[in-house]
């Protein structure tokens, strides 16, 4: 250390060959290090079972991580699948598929050799199979023991059908490689054409070559949400349950749902619906009916058969209501219509004022307004941002409750105002019609004074099959953010589940009257 010359003089282990591909370990590491929340990384090629060599990425991150495990005197922890997913989306643009690590492990600090270099040997000797839960599930995802046990989301199922039909193979795994299933370029074009017909949107042909499994292709197409959906924001696409759709409120964006998304069930896929004009330069429709129809087009494309669980946040409850009506009228199955604390009285449509938004933003994100608007345009990064933002808010804002402070609203937000005006006038003009279904009303325990029908906030006159009241902590402004987000999410999940069970029972008793008598 005295001469300070500890430069790494090249390693023999930084080039490996896996399945005939020459892998540049250094290239993978530098791509990883480029990720915004990665400080440093070490990638190890390891034979996890005979003839099966996998790349394992050990990552030191500035994310807040709890290290509960110590293996080979290194503190390790699972990288949550959502983070892995977002990393992979990013890495996909820099690395060919064969250089994508199979597993990602957080490391508190890398072990050092006597000379102060990263001790790769010590890292490579970590028995990574012992790393808790997440790794195990990743292993089973990568090499499913039993193909029938794969949990597919809807889009993966649709892709699987297209692949099986075109390749004339049955029982594909979503991790089977296209080229290992007898696929070639002619079938590639066929498949991409069918996907294009299915989505109504062109997907670059080359994406099948760089993402040759159903899993990676679905991930690529979904991950590239910017081009695929205008309103639908995939917050979490994995899980075996039917998806829930959370419809934006007065703020127009869906970042507000990230707090509760963290606490919903692991098997619960979640989609946000953001306002028209956010993703793309377009003027929102001027009626609630037309807006709802636009949203539904994407929802149905994503999930053609239902059932549909819709939850509107605040003023978004009106949009959710109209969506549910339209679904119901077209014969689709709405398993749930949720309303987050929004009354039916028309006077309340005025909630979406500029002043209100300005105040909300000022209160919640003092110095990050610019970043905030960027996130609206790039919902993919929202999760990471939200995590940091949450910390900021808990540390800073809540302790300042009651203290008025002026922050200038940055110019970046101005494009939202005309959108809000359109939404406000559409909501004001909306003539609410009865809905032939039940409504689940999540009602803040702290009720705002000017509601006449304190019990159902006016909804009993419209939801023909009744209003189910769920009382939730907090007031209208904080019921889905900390400290109330966790308890809210628990209640929301249980209502979603109850409705799905009822839907299934109903569905099954209609198709087979002898079953489900105990439900």
């Amino acid at each position: 250390m005295k001469n300070g010359d500890i430069l790494c003089l090249g390693r023999t282990d930084n080039q490996v060959k896996i399945r005939g591909f020459r892998i540049e370990i250094g290239e993978i590491e530098s791509s990883l290090n480029n990720l915004k929340d990665v400080v440093n990384s070490v990638v190890i090629a390891k034979e996890i079972k005979q003839d099966d060599i996998r790349l394992i990425a050990y990552v030191k991150s500035d994310n807040e991580i709890e290290f509960s495990q110590e293996l080979n005197s290194v503190h390790v922890s699972e990288v949550p699948s959502l983070i892995v997913q977002s990393w992979k989306n990013d890495l996909n643009r820099r690395l060919p598929e064969y250089m994508m690590p199979s597993y990602f492990v957080y490391v508190k600090d890398f072990p050092l050799t006597a000379t102060g270099k990263t001790d790769r040997r010590k890292i490579s000797e970590i028995d990574f199979k012992q790393i808790d839960r997440q790794i195990e599930t990743q292993v089973s995802i990568v090499r499913p023991q039993n193909r029938e046990s794969e949990n597919l989301n809807n889009f993966q199922k649709q892709l699987k059908e297209i692949w099986e039909e075109t390749l004339e193979v049955s029982e594909l795994s979503i991790h089977d490689n296209f080229f290992e299933c007898g696929g070639h370029s002619l079938t590639a074009i066929s498949i991409m054409k069918k996907i294009e017909n299915h989505l109504g949107e062109k997907i670059p042909l080359a994406s099948l070559f760089s993402h040759p499994t159903i899993f990676s292709l679905a991930d690529f197409i979904n991950g590239d949400g910017s081009s695929k959906w205008k309103y639908l924001v995939p917050i979490k696409t994995t899980g075996t349950k039917p998806p829930v759709y959370l419809i934006h409120g007065a703020g127009l964006e869906v970042l507000v749902f990230n707090d509760i998304a963290m606490y919903l069930d692991e098997e619960q896929p979640i989609y946000g619906i953001q306002a028209m004009g956010l993703q793309q330069d377009e003027l929102p429709e001027n009626t609630v009916e037309a807006i709802a129809a636009k949203y539904l087009k994407e929802v149905i494309k994503q999930n053609p058969d239902g059932p549909y669980s819709l939850v509107g946040f605040s003023a978004g409850s009106i949009l959710a209501y109209e969506m549910a009506r339209q679904l119901e009228m077209s014969g689709k199955n709405v398993s749930m219509l949720g309303n987050i604390d929004y009354p039916v009285e028309s006077s309340k449509f005025k909630l979406a004022t500029k002043e209100k938004l300005a105040r909300l933003i000022k209160e919640s994100i003092p110095r990050q307004v610019h970043a905030f608007t960027m996130m609206i345009k790039h919902p993919k990064q929202a999760l990471e941002f939200q995590r940091r933002f949450l910390k900021l808010r808990v540390n800073g804002i809540l302790s300042r409750v009651g203290i008025e402070q002026e922050y200038p609203i940055e110019e970046g937000l101005e494009h939202i105002y005309p959108l809000m005006d359109r939404y406000e006038s559409a909501l004001n003009a909306y003539e609410i019609k009865p809905y032939n279904g039940k409504l689940d009303l999540f009602k803040a325990k702290i009720i705002l004074n000017y509601v006449k029908d304190k019990k159902t906030l006016g909804w009993r006159n419209y939801a023909l099959k009744g209003v189910n009241i769920i009382n939730v902590e907090g007031d209208h402004d904080n019921l889905i953010i900390p400290p109330n987000s966790k308890s809210f999410a628990k209640k929301l999940q249980s209502v979603i589940d109850k409705n799905i069970t009822q839907y299934n029972t109903h569905y099954e008793s209609n198709t087979n009257k002898n079953t489900q008598s105990t439900m």
């Binding site: 060959k17 005939g20 193979v169 299933c181 002619l186 294009e196």
Partner: protein
């Protein structure tokens, strides 16, 4: 496509009437252009032997195929390819190794940088083309059942669509043009992508802006039939077009030659 580029190169597409079937014994394995044609089913008894020529990762790859027919086809293709390349390079087939160029075009690892090869298969047929210059080959079984109507618009230009629609045998016309595009893309190493409609395929000479392939070298794309139900196209430098194209049809005797 940016049409402001003025660099162009010529691509000639045509039928090749002077393709002749030649016995494998006549092959010197020194030719500037040699095309080998085989049938997977001929090698049913030789799979174990051929598999021994594969390295670990190739064996792993063969085991990863979902369907048996693909596994067999891969073993035959890779095994015979290694035998043929071994003969061209005076090496043992087991010692032949590959690496991937840009766009993942496979090349053989050797000091002789001017040994190029390209491989294609369809149904039971395999073609291996070897050349001293970049080469591309594609074979397709003319499959009347394949719903090619679906993909016509993403694959062909308006003129090409007209040609197919006005042909007596639409599937043959489709596969003819398809194999030409595919062979050309494989020769240039670019691989298949969204430029398909721009790739020349109709019989005749085409001027091509050089963005599609990086060099200004001209290309010849020649087609021929194999048996009654296969169409193949080869794409290579017109310099190699010196006489008839030799098509070496071989069964397991390649293991003994």
């Amino acid at each position: 496509m940016n049409l402001t580029l003025t660099k162009t190169h010529k691509v000639q597409c045509s039928w090749m009437s002077d393709v002749r079937l030649v016995d494998i014994q006549a092959c010197k394995f020194k030719e500037e252009l040699a095309v080998f044609c085989l049938q997977v089913s001929d090698f049913e008894q030789n799979l174990t032997h051929l598999k021994k020529l594969l390295n670990e990762s190739e064996v792993l790859k063969s085991d990863n195929f979902v369907m048996e027919k693909d596994r067999k086809r891969f073993i035959v293709t890779r095994g015979v390819l290694k035998i043929i390349l071994g003969k061209f390079l005076n090496k043992n087939p087991e010692d032949i190794e590959f690496y991937f160029e840009q766009h993942l075009k496979p090349r053989v690892k050797t000091q002789h940088s001017n040994l190029h090869f390209n491989v294609t298969h369809s149904a039971d047929r395999i073609i291996i083309a070897i050349s001293s210059k970049p080469i591309g080959v594609d074979i397709e079984h003319v499959d009347e059942e394949f719903g090619f109507d679906q993909i016509l618009d993403v694959t062909f230009s308006d003129n090409e669509l007209d040609y197919i629609q006005n042909s007596n045998n639409k599937s043959e016309a489709f596969y003819l043009l398809w194999t030409r595009k595919e062979a050309f893309l494989k020769a240039t190493g670019k691989g298949i992508d969204d430029d398909l409609q721009q790739i020349p395929a109709l019989t005749g000479i085409h001027e091509l802006v050089s963005e599609i392939s990086d060099s200004e070298t001209p290309w010849f794309v020649g087609s021929f039939g194999i048996g009654n139900s296969y169409i193949a196209s080869l794409s290579f430098s017109p310099e190699l077009l010196k006489g008839p194209i030799n098509l070496y049809s071989t069964g397991p005797e390649i293991l003994m030659v």
